[in-house]
């Protein structure tokens, strides 16, 4: 404890005032950005939240949520949404892990070059890429032509305007979101560890599964989570490549607005989507303790 000397609290008030003035002036630098977020995100989303609880006569009502439980089409939409999200995430892990591993093993200079193959799609409009897949996968498209030519199948297969096309397109668009954090995590793995393991007599595959793989998990979890959450709310690719056969939540929200102009129903659906997204994030970050992995993503 400090001995209470005379005048020990000298300047205390002035210092406190100065401290809070400085902190407020610093925080005020974040104010413009905050205002934009409040105006564009918080108010509109809050408004939707409010609308979702309004009945036909403007009274409080749970009818939109009750409808969701009543009609099977809603359940189907949510099942489809989770199906597509889980499958896409799975495909991304299967494809993305070897790729990230390959890139992480390369010397930095060469890796930078090959990394462009991941970054380029990342920077390219997803509309353009969706369009490209539409063209590649169509009945008379390159893929069908090629497969028939080498004898994989005899007559053109329907690859697009269905689940297959949607998954192919989604996986392509989501892959960079998995590979980039995974690559960063792999780069941070201490190379001496692997060397030590092999010096101690571990076979390469044993060293990989017992040391490298567990250490790369944080990156993989973060990447998978980003992919999964983005998939949940995805609109463009399923709408174009699904051809009306893959109805995800976002697609249905748009359909409700376009056909019935029912803001309450659309909002309720949106609110459930948001809650599902936040739940996934919260549960995952609790389970995997990955605040840092998520927020330290970088470009």
């Amino acid at each position: 404890m400090a001995a209470a000397k005379p005048g020990a609290m000298q300047n205390a008030n002035a210092l406190k005032r100065q401290q809070s003035r400085e902190q407020w002036s610093l925080l005020s630098l974040a104010l413009p950005a905050l205002l934009v977020i409040v105006l564009v995100i918080l108010i509109p989303v809050g408004w939707l939240f409010y609308l979702s609880f309004l009945g036909g006569e403007g009274q409080f009502s749970l009818e939109h949520y009750q409808k969701m439980l009543k009609y099977k089409s809603y359940a189907r939409t949510f099942i489809t949404t989770f199906q597509v999200s889980i499958l896409t995430t799975g495909i991304c892990i299967l494809i993305g892990y070897p790729l990230a591993y390959f890139l992480a093993q390369l010397p930095n200079r060469i890796a930078g070059f090959f990394m462009l193959t991941v970054l380029l799609p990342f920077w390219t409009s997803l509309l353009v890429r969706t369009y490209a897949w539409l063209v590649l996968l169509q009945r008379k498209g390159i893929l069908n032509d090629f497969a028939i030519q080498i004898g994989l199948w005899d007559s053109p297969i329907k690859l697009v305007h269905n689940m297959t096309g949607t998954l192919i397109g989604m996986a392509h668009i989501m892959l960079p979101f998995l590979v980039l954090p995974l690559y960063n995590a792999m780069k941070k793995i201490d190379r001496d560890l692997m060397q030590a393991a092999s010096n101690l007599g571990a076979t390469p595959s044993r060293a990989f599964w017992q040391i490298y793989f567990p250490l790369s998990m944080p990156g993989m979890v973060a990447g998978s989570l980003i992919v999964f959450v983005l998939c949940l709310g995805f609109y463009v690719t399923p709408a174009v490549l699904g051809g009306g056969r893959v109805i995800m939540v976002a697609t249905q929200i748009t359909a409700i607005l376009e056909n019935q102009f029912d803001w309450g129903a659309a909002s309720a659906l949106g609110v459930v989507l948001l809650i599902a997204t936040v739940l996934v994030l919260v549960v995952a970050s609790r389970v995997f303790k990955l605040d840092a992995a998520l927020f330290g993503k970088g470009s």
Binding site: M9, N11, L15, Q18
Partner: protein
């Protein structure tokens, strides 16, 4: 008090709390004009917090910091006119050496001609003539250190603050820079506050040392006094090597070790407890061939361990009813201690002037 080159600093009641922890606990310290004062303490002792408070980067909760009687505690760093050298040097990598040094002059709108001249002078002072156009990444660690220094004094501040500026250098270079910094201080005459955790560095460089522990000043004094007359166990232990033995406080105000008289203490508190501080190199062999009998106190014991360390030999002596005593003998060819071995019987003693007693703190 103030001169053209230097300002005195008065620190009063300076307090800074982090949560329940006092980083600075009502610190009072007067730094004289032109003095080289070192803040010495273990990490987390509050020495850097104090330095940053003087510089204006750490805002204390209360207290006063005056430069030559002018209250500065609310003044922002850029108006304190204090030169500062950071541990990491914090040179600006996007500027050349000369641009780094010219930075404070540019801010003060010094003319181009004078800026050039003063940058050249500063480069000369830190022995970096002709390196002004170099990039920072072309410099060695020692050169970077000098640039940081030149940048800190080129605008002629009357106070210079340094936060462990030599800790990133290797031992040899560090020792050379200690001497150079000392010379530079003499040349500039500026009041200098220097932070280090290295007691040797503090003893080498300082006019005075302020030893800090747990946010409080443990002792402020000259290097010799700090070493020869530590005020408490923390200082005795932190600076130099020492063995501390508890003493008996007799009703007649005499302190004794066994039967031997050590010192007399004032009689204000008969229950106070005292320690004898023994510096290893101050111990003499009590009964060698020269018949050295001047020792005021002697300790007889058995050599527990004897280690040859080049310039000296380190010997641990086990004595009855107390901790082992550490002794350091010089290893000249004439030394009688050259062939000591574990198990040998030995007696060592302290001259009267080398007796140090300190109060034993509670706990």
């Amino acid at each position: 008090m103030s001169s053209d080159n230097a300002l005195p600093i008065h620190i009063g009641g300076l307090t800074k709390k982090y949560g329940d922890l006092y980083a600075l606990d009502s610190v009072d310290l007067d730094i004289k004009s032109g003095e080289f004062l070192t803040l010495l303490g273990p990490s987390g002792s509050g020495k850097t917090t104090l330095l940053m408070a003087i510089a204006g980067f750490n805002r204390p909760d209360s207290g006063s910091i005056r430069f030559d009687n002018q209250e500065m505690i609310l003044t922002p760093p850029h108006r304190r006119e204090v030169g500062m050298v950071f541990q990491s040097y914090a040179l600006f990598p996007h500027m050349s050496v000369a641009e780094n040094i010219a930075f404070p002059l540019k801010l003060r709108k010094v003319s181009a001609a004078e800026t050039n001249q003063r940058v050249e002078e500063a480069l000369h002072t830190v022995q970096l003539d002709g390196l002004g156009s170099r990039n920072i990444d072309q410099l060695s660690g020692g050169q970077r250190q000098r640039v940081a220094l030149a940048r800190a004094f080129v605008f002629r501040p009357r106070i210079l603050l340094m936060d462990e500026p030599l800790s990133a250098l290797d031992k040899k270079l560090r020792e050379r820079m200690q001497i150079e910094l000392k010379q530079l201080h003499r040349q500039l005459g500026v009041t200098t506050v220097y932070v280090t955790h290295d007691q040797r560095e503090a003893l080498t460089m300082s006019d005075r040392i302020a030893v800090i522990n747990h946010g409080r000043l443990a002792q402020v004094d000259t290097p010799t006094s700090i070493y020869n007359r530590p005020a408490n166990a923390f200082v005795a232990d932190f600076i130099g090597e020492s063995t501390m033995l508890p003493l008996e406080h007799r009703p007649d105000h005499q302190l004794t070790f066994g039967d031997q008289f050590v010192a007399t203490v004032p009689d204000d508190n008969p229950d106070s407890q005292w320690l004898l501080v023994i510096r290893p190199e101050r111990l003499l062999v009590a009964d060698d061939s020269q018949g050295n009998t001047a020792a005021a106190i002697t300790f007889g014991g058995i050599v527990k361990e004897a280690v040859f360390q080049g310039d000296s030999a380190f010997v641990l002596i086990a004595i009855d009813n107390a901790d082992d005593i550490a002794v350091r003998f010089s290893t000249g060819s004439a030394s009688a201690m050259a062939n000591l071995q574990a198990g040998d019987a030995i007696a060592v003693g302290l001259l009267k002037d080398d007796i140090i007693i300190i109060p034993r703190e509670a706990g």
